[in-house]
Symmetry: C2
Subunit: 418 residues, 2 copies
């Protein structure tokens, strides 16, 4: 009997350049996940995230308290997928949250994720007033709608909080979900329900085949806060939660930092991978400097490419608006393209992907050798900008307007007859 699972594997394996058998083994070990809610409707392109798989890109969209325009957020989600996003997360915190989520689920054909605690927090007068029922009900509500993966900040427990208190962080907590839980735990003097009743969470996840993405509540919000004990404590808790999820047959991803200086990325990524038994690692950044607002998509591409070289699997797009404002549609597109470039750069040096990924670069090299411009545009990750640039300043020669007839490629081809 051919199961839905078999169909999914047969579709994913060739897309990733691995055998069905290998993919199966990687999924069984938990090193690879394919987020897909049993209730999700429509023909959803399955995406494998983890070891030996191509680096995946998530794009966050969603309303805020200041800007509620559901049509625009749906348009952002569609544009993100058009420009190569593998998954979309709806992080809405303004307007009718159910409507945004359901519309996005309908309009895109990739896995969709959410952070249910946002809705739980908004269901009461104040964040600290939510009940543990509010939290779990939000998760169930999203699961019922067909959401494929949810971020749950279950690693923000009393132990982690104590490490945070003893730290000397400048920015303490910058994760929104993490901050909600820290505030809630302090105000109510209670353990984080997602940690305390993690078994109940796993039951819900199991029922809907919901993938858990264990949130990075302690992610450093600035370079000075990177790689500290609070973050490592959370990593340890997340590792234990990974084990429990796997025991119950629930797919699980781990989220990672944040703001990390360039020379700490290797240690950070490798430590998280070890501590969490090589769960797929989903990175928010890492941003490798704090002082480039307006250019954080580029800062994040630098950190992200390096992080994936060392084992990260899944990059969350950071837009040029990060730290400044809710992103515009254009910024979603810019950020998506740049993150796709970082993902490709990482795939070129990643076990299991390097030969496949480099094939495109090799073809580009031949297209350049042949001064075949049509082919160069076909091979470009995003050809529109390249086309605009070239047609704005054409050359009178068959080369480009930087060198014209003095093109090195032309000249050497003439003299070095090979």
């Amino acid at each position: 009997m051919i199961t839905a699972e078999d169909i999914k594997l047969k579709r994913v394996a060739p897309a990733e350049g691995v055998s069905v058998e290998k993919l199966k083994r990687l999924i069984e070990s938990g090193r690879v996940v394919i987020p897909h809610n049993a209730r999700r409707e429509g023909d959803i392109v399955p995406k494998a995230i983890g070891e030996c798989m191509s680096t995946k890109v998530n794009v966050n969209v969603g309303t805020s308290k200041d800007y509620v325009n559901i049509d625009e957020e749906v348009a952002k989600a569609r544009a993100a997928v058009k420009y190569g996003a593998d998954t979309v997360m709806d992080l809405s915190t303004g307007g009718d949250l159910d409507e945004v989520r359901r519309r996005i689920l309908k309009e895109v054909n990739v896995p969709v994720g959410t952070v249910p605690i946002y809705q739980a927090a908004l269901s009461e007068r104040a964040v600290v007033d939510m009940s543990s029922d509010d939290m779990f009900n939000a998760v169930r509500r999203h699961a019922e709608d067909g959401i494929d993966f949810v971020t749950i900040h279950a690693g923000v427990n009393l132990n982690t909080l104590e490490r945070l208190r003893r730290s000397n962080r400048i920015l303490n907590v910058v994760s929104r979900g993490g901050a909600f839980l820290v505030a809630w735990m302090i105000h109510n003097e209670l353990e984080n329900p997602f940690y305390k009743e993690y078994d109940y969470l796993l039951e819900i996840a199991k029922e809907y085949e919901l993938t858990l993405s264990l949130g990075d509540g302690m992610r450093p919000g600035c370079i000075a806060d990177a790689s500290d004990r609070a973050k490592f404590m959370e990593n340890i808790i997340l590792g234990e939660l990974v084990t429990l999820a796997r025991e119950k047959g629930v797919q699980v991803i781990v989220e990672g930092p944040g703001h990390v200086p360039l020379d700490e990325i290797e240690t950070s990524v490798k430590a998280i991978k070890h501590i969490t038994d090589f769960a797929p690692l989903y990175l928010l950044g890492p941003l490798v400097t704090d002082i480039a607002p307006g250019y954080d998509h580029i800062v994040s591409a630098i950190g992200g490419a390096v992080a994936c070289m060392y084992g990260a699997d899944f990059l969350c797009m950071v837009s040029p608006s990060e730290h400044l404002a809710l992103p515009s549609l254009d910024h979603i597109i810019d950020g998506t393209v740049v993150t796709k470039i970082a993902a490709h750069i990482a795939d070129m040096v990643k076990a299991g992907q390097r030969e496949r990924a480099r094939q495109q670069d090799i073809e580009m090299a031949y297209a350049r050798r042949n001064l075949d411009w049509k082919r160069q545009f076909e091979l470009a990750i995003e050809p529109r900008e390249a086309g605009r640039i070239r047609s704005n300043r054409p050359s009178e020669s068959e080369a480009c307007s930087i060198c014209g007839d003095l093109c090195a490629i032309k000249l050497v081809k003439e003299f070095l007859k090979r």
Copy 2:
């Protein structure tokens, strides 16, 4: 007696956060250079390039055969300096080359470099028709005008050429100066005059206190050609030429690749540094993928930040127009800002610079903690874009429009009273 040299050192040392004594030792060892032509007029800001110094950024400008607009090239040079370029190179190959060069020298107050062989090549009917006198005369002419550093492809000799012939490169030679010399050597069946008569070149350099930047004629033009024997052969020759230059008291820089995959950068940079006795390393890129035309400033920032983490000292800006067209003024600015960001990211992890560089990031973290937007813009590497983004979508709260009142920083400050 206080010499001009002493004045220069006293000006540079505090700018780099090192003592005059340490700077002096580094210059004497050749690990640091301060390019400055004895004939250069005006108050030129001295720039120290090399070990323990902050990462420097060069911006290329110049006419091409297809686009000759001297005013625009001068405007590009001025804009580059305004946005943080430490040096400017005039790579003009169209129109009155003497005029462009002289105007740029007058209009900017930073070291200016050129590639004299372009003028030599253009002085005859065809590139291969130039004489060795044409080549050396061009160098002397630029030196007389006050040019501070010149790229000389002296490592492209018969030995290197033989290694190239035995290679299976896709793109052979993509360096314009390198290609001129390869064509010339094959056509004339002669050794490269810059190699053969290197002593004469050193005499000219010595006379004008001209800094030599040993060109990267064999730089790989695509990922598939990276780290091969032709490039290593050239590195070896460049290393020998570094020794000879130092013996004659001529300041010397080494230029490096090119297109290099992310996981080969560490090896590439460290090998070049060793082989060339730790001469200041000037990088063109490295571009870590071939398939992102239109976004090569970002691709280069990724490679450049990583290369400088491993020891490169001097980054050549790559514009979004690379591989496509002569850059516009806007692209020069975009490229400069992004390269400055990469340089700062590297300084944050570089021996001799990390504490100083990170101070800005620490101040930004406090400004974010305090939601002090004015201060955040003051600390930004380039605040204009950040300001536009924020004012396009303001928040009704004191935070930003991503989270509004749900700002993690605000929330945690309220509950975690520290």
